[in-house]
């Protein structure tokens, strides 16, 4: 029993040691990079759902298999999470003992001067005339101001200094690694408490209020967001300006809008704001972005009995270059209460809309994205739109199964310009009144964003410090010259030795400068011609 316990403990200890070793961290780093790779190569649902669907069509054999192992949701898959969780356990396991070790090092004194300085990677030696041992040591102490130093007096009357510098390196290193952990926690917080919603608002003074998820066209809630406590604010989109260059490229988008939040909500006062790409509106802890735009044609239907309905519905741009759009504007005949009759008289206006008409034979296309010659090529469909079937349907098209079953039929097909009208067989008229622009707004909320930024800044500074600062040691020994007896003035042999504690080339130059200052310019302080002057740290690990 006891044996089992010790074995189990030993196993645990070994696992922990293995997990927290540098080598494991390296392997985990590689695994993480490899695991992220499919995220760049295979379309991801979270980014582009239609690309994923296309992939399924193109590779019907392997796509379901890939789906099963989470290849379309790499960054929320279990295996991706397990790698980074292991990596962070390993990281923390590495860090805690290192903090302690660092603390001890910081408290301890620089190590004693080695007996033979000549064997260090950096070394210089000279006999100084007219200088006593004490003078040499005092000069060295002045020169090494800012270094951590201790002095030793040796048995044969020699005195020495051992000095050390570059403790910030380890501080930077610890800051960097802890900031990584902090960054991860911030990211997780954002996933828990953040949300993101998309909504299309027509630029004719329409309003949108962040009062519930039902106001959105699509909404992605963090794991602890139930949609009841969204930050309260309202926006109103008044107009939408786009400047085009002659080649049709957009020079500028400008959304003229107003918003109210906080006190403004109570007093019902609106603040003006110009929303632009790269300039989100930040209010009430949320951010509001312009992420898309398009056209909404306005149609008026007049039934033979004189009843009228007008509708303004966004159509979907098919090409960002020309803004040729497609869509469907749907109507119920007013005043019809009989279900059967209602399902025979619904109307849909579907087809294409071109802001600047260009005809390809009789087929409408668009020559320019701006509203120079707005024209719609429409099919008017009458019958059952299938809106009551319980099946969801796209707002940009009609239910094709209704068309196939003959329950929805085309009653007209025509090209109309603004102001033009189509008369149907039963006397109903459909008029194309005009066009508005719409803006796709994205509302985002992430309460952890600032802390993530703070950790990112710490990461950069930690990295910079730990890569630039060098841990290095220097020793100075001054001993009376053995033949000093005959000469009147004191002669002292001064020896300097140096060692870089970390894997960092470039200590040689600093060492050379110090040696020059202590010994005079003409000394030889070349590095030892050893194959690779290994550092203390390497040998240890």
């Amino acid at each position: 029993m006891r044996d089992h316990l010790t074995t189990a403990l030993a196993f645990l200890r070994n696992t922990w040691r293995g997990l927290t070793s540098m080598r494991t961290a390296l392997v985990l780093l590689f695994l993480l990079a490899m695991a992220a790779l499919p995220g760049a190569l295979i379309p991801q649902r979270s980014l582009n759902r239609s690309e994923v669907d296309k992939y399924f069509q193109q590779h019907p054999d392997i796509a379901p298999l890939l789906d099963k192992i989470g290849m379309f949701e790499v960054f929320s898959s279990v295996w991706f999470a397990s790698i980074y969780v292991l990596l962070f356990i390993s990281l923390i396991g590495c860090l805690l003992p290192r903090c302690w070790e660092y603390y001890k090092q910081w408290r301890s004194k620089p190590v004693r001067t080695p007996r033979n300085l000549g064997r260090l990677p950096h070394h210089a030696e000279k006999t100084l005339d007219d200088t006593s041992v004490d003078e040499a040591i005092a000069a060295a102490k002045t020169r090494l101001r800012g270094w951590r130093m201790v002095e030793h007096t040796e048995a044969d009357g020699a005195r020495s200094i051992s000095a050390e510098r570059g403790f910030l390196r380890e501080v930077g290193n610890l800051v960097f690694h802890f900031a990584l952990v902090g960054l991860l926690i911030g990211l997780a917080g954002g996933k828990l408490y953040g949300y993101e919603g998309q909504v299309i608002v027509v630029a004719d003074g329409s309003e949108f209020c962040n009062s519930g998820t039902y106001n959105y066209d699509s909404f992605r809630a963090g794991l602890s967001v139930d949609g009841t406590q969204l930050s309260p604010f309202c926006v109103k989109v008044d107009d939408f300006d786009v400047d085009y260059q002659p080649n049709g490229q957009v020079a500028n988008y400008r959304v003229g809008m107003q918003y109210q939040s906080g006190e403004g909500l109570e007093t019902n006062t609106w603040q003006p704001y110009t929303l632009q790409v790269n300039h989100p509106l930040r209010t009430a802890g949320d951010r509001i972005y312009l992420t898309g735009n398009g056209y909404a044609p306005r149609f008026t239907v007049t039934w033979p009995d004189g009843q009228q309905r007008t509708s303004l519905v966004q159509w979907q741009p098919m090409s960002p270059q020309t803004m040729l759009s497609q869509g469907a504007t749907k109507f119920d005949q007013p005043g019809v209460t009989d279900e059967v009759q209602r399902r025979q008289s619904q109307l849909a206006i579907t087809g294409l809309f071109a802001p600047t008409a260009a005809f390809d034979g009789k087929i409408l296309s668009s020559g320019f994205p701006d509203l120079l010659d707005p024209t719609a090529a429409i099919d008017v469909m009458r019958g059952d739109l299938g809106l009551d079937s319980g099946r969801g349907q796209s707002i940009f098209g009609v239910d094709q199964s209704m068309v196939e079953q003959g329950r929805l039929n085309r009653v007209a097909r025509e090209n109309v310009r603004v102001g033009e009208e189509i008369r149907l067989d039963d006397g109903t008229t459909v008029r194309f009144d005009g066009v508005e622009r719409w803006a796709n707004l994205q509302v985002s909320h992430d309460p952890f964003q600032t802390s993530v930024l703070a950790f990112a800044v710490l990461i950069i500074f930690g990295l910079g410090t730990s890569l630039i600062v060098k841990r290095r040691r220097i020793w100075v020994r001054a001993a009376p010259h053995p033949e000093t007896g005959e000469s009147p003035a004191a002669r002292t042999v001064v020896e300097v030795g140096g060692l870089a504690r970390t894997d960092q080339a470039g200590y040689g130059e600093e060492f050379a400068r110090i040696a020059d200052d202590l010994l005079g310019a003409d000394v030889d302080h070349s590095p030892q011609p050893r194959a690779d002057a290994g550092t203390a740290r390497e040998r240890k690990s």
Partner: protein, 332 residues
């Protein structure tokens, strides 16, 4: 703001000129590399290591010794190669400058300009290393050996410039709305500088791997290997370049994230370019860790550095041209 056609034409001419000059420089570097006498190089290197002889020998190595009877042809080729590189870099800089002036914006708004700027960064990184090493008291390679690297750096640079100038070429035009932000100056400049320096580091690591094969068995690639700097010097150059640039690269990614927060509505979304930047960052972090882990130094860590360069190049071409993501506007 309208584009100034005249300036933009000058820019294109300067671009083409700089490619020609770089190719000439590359051929000169290779000329020195091929015809240089290994014996001299080896001797000077030994001298550099044996301290006593060093100072006397080192002086004539630097190159501006006045009345030396006859400088060997190879060395003259090398000197010309360096001058051509400097000239090429100046003309290249002029090309970017005029494009910036022609369009009234930073000259890195599309992939053609971006590729061009990366190449300039790589060339400048190379010149800095070259001049620093020559001034360095503790020299690790003779100038001739060091210049041996030049051709191998100019090779990818000219290739990349050629590709940028032909396949990826884009007319000078104003920036689209998504790019109208001061972050384009910060984020992209940092990405350019780091890509250029990492290109240099990657080339040094490739040469390190080749040199190691030679050092392990001097019969292998005897001519080629013996003309390169020592493996130690190559390793150190690669490491120093990476160490200096890694924080800059990190900064480029963080700046990208800050920009993405303003432009795309989130600071991180695993867009293909972001994912690849992350992977490259991890690989370089692994390289730095490997350098400090026993059993991973040397050849293994050099391979990691080469892998990092491969990810960077993949990120530049594949992600911009093949995968569609939010960075794709920057495309052609």
């Amino acid at each position: 703001m309208p584009v100034n056609e005249t300036l933009s034409n000058y820019s294109d001419m300067a671009y083409a000129t700089s490619v020609v000059i770089y190719i000439a420089a590359m051929l000169l570097y290779f000329g020195e590399f091929a015809y240089g006498r290994v014996a001299t190089a080896a001797r000077t290197r030994e001298a550099a290591l044996v301290g006593a002889e060093k100072s006397s020998e080192a002086k004539d190595v630097v190159g501006h010794v006045p009345a030396q009877p006859k400088r060997p042809l190879a060395e003259r080729l090398g000197g010309m190669a360096v001058s051509m590189t400097v000239l090429g870099a100046l003309v290249h800089f002029g090309s970017l400058l005029t494009r910036g002036l022609a369009t009234g914006r930073v000259p890195w708004g599309n992939m053609y300009e971006f590729g061009s700027a990366i190449c300039l960064a790589a060339v400048v990184a190379w010149l800095i290393v070259l001049f620093r090493q020559l001034r360095n008291a503790r020299r690790e390679a003779t100038p001739a050996q060091l210049r041996g690297l030049g051709g191998f750096l100019m090779l990818p640079v000219t290739l990349l410039l050629f590709l940028s100038g032909t396949v990826l070429y884009a007319e000078a035009a104003p920036l689209q709305p998504a790019l109208q932000s001061y972050w384009i100056v910060i984020h992209v400049a940092a990405a350019i500088v780091s890509s250029g320096a990492l290109l240099f580091a990657g080339v040094a690591s490739v040469l390190y791997l080749l040199r190691c094969r030679y050092e392990n068995n001097p019969l292998k690639m005897a001519k080629f290997g013996s003309r390169l700097p020592t493996s130690q010097a190559l390793d150190r150059m690669a490491y120093r370049a990476t160490v200096i640039i890694f924080p800059v690269w990190t900064f480029a990614i963080v700046a990208g994230a800050i920009w993405a927060e303003a432009a795309w509505g989130r600071f991180w979304g695993w867009d293909p370019k972001e994912t690849c930047a992350f992977i490259a960052w991890i690989v370089y972090a692994a390289y730095l860790h490997a350098r400090a882990t026993a059993g991973w130094r040397g050849v293994r860590s050099a391979w990691i550095n080469v892998l990092g360069l491969a990810v960077m190049i993949f990120n530049l071409f594949f992600v911009n041209l093949v995968v569609t993501g939010l960075h794709s506007y920057a495309g052609l």
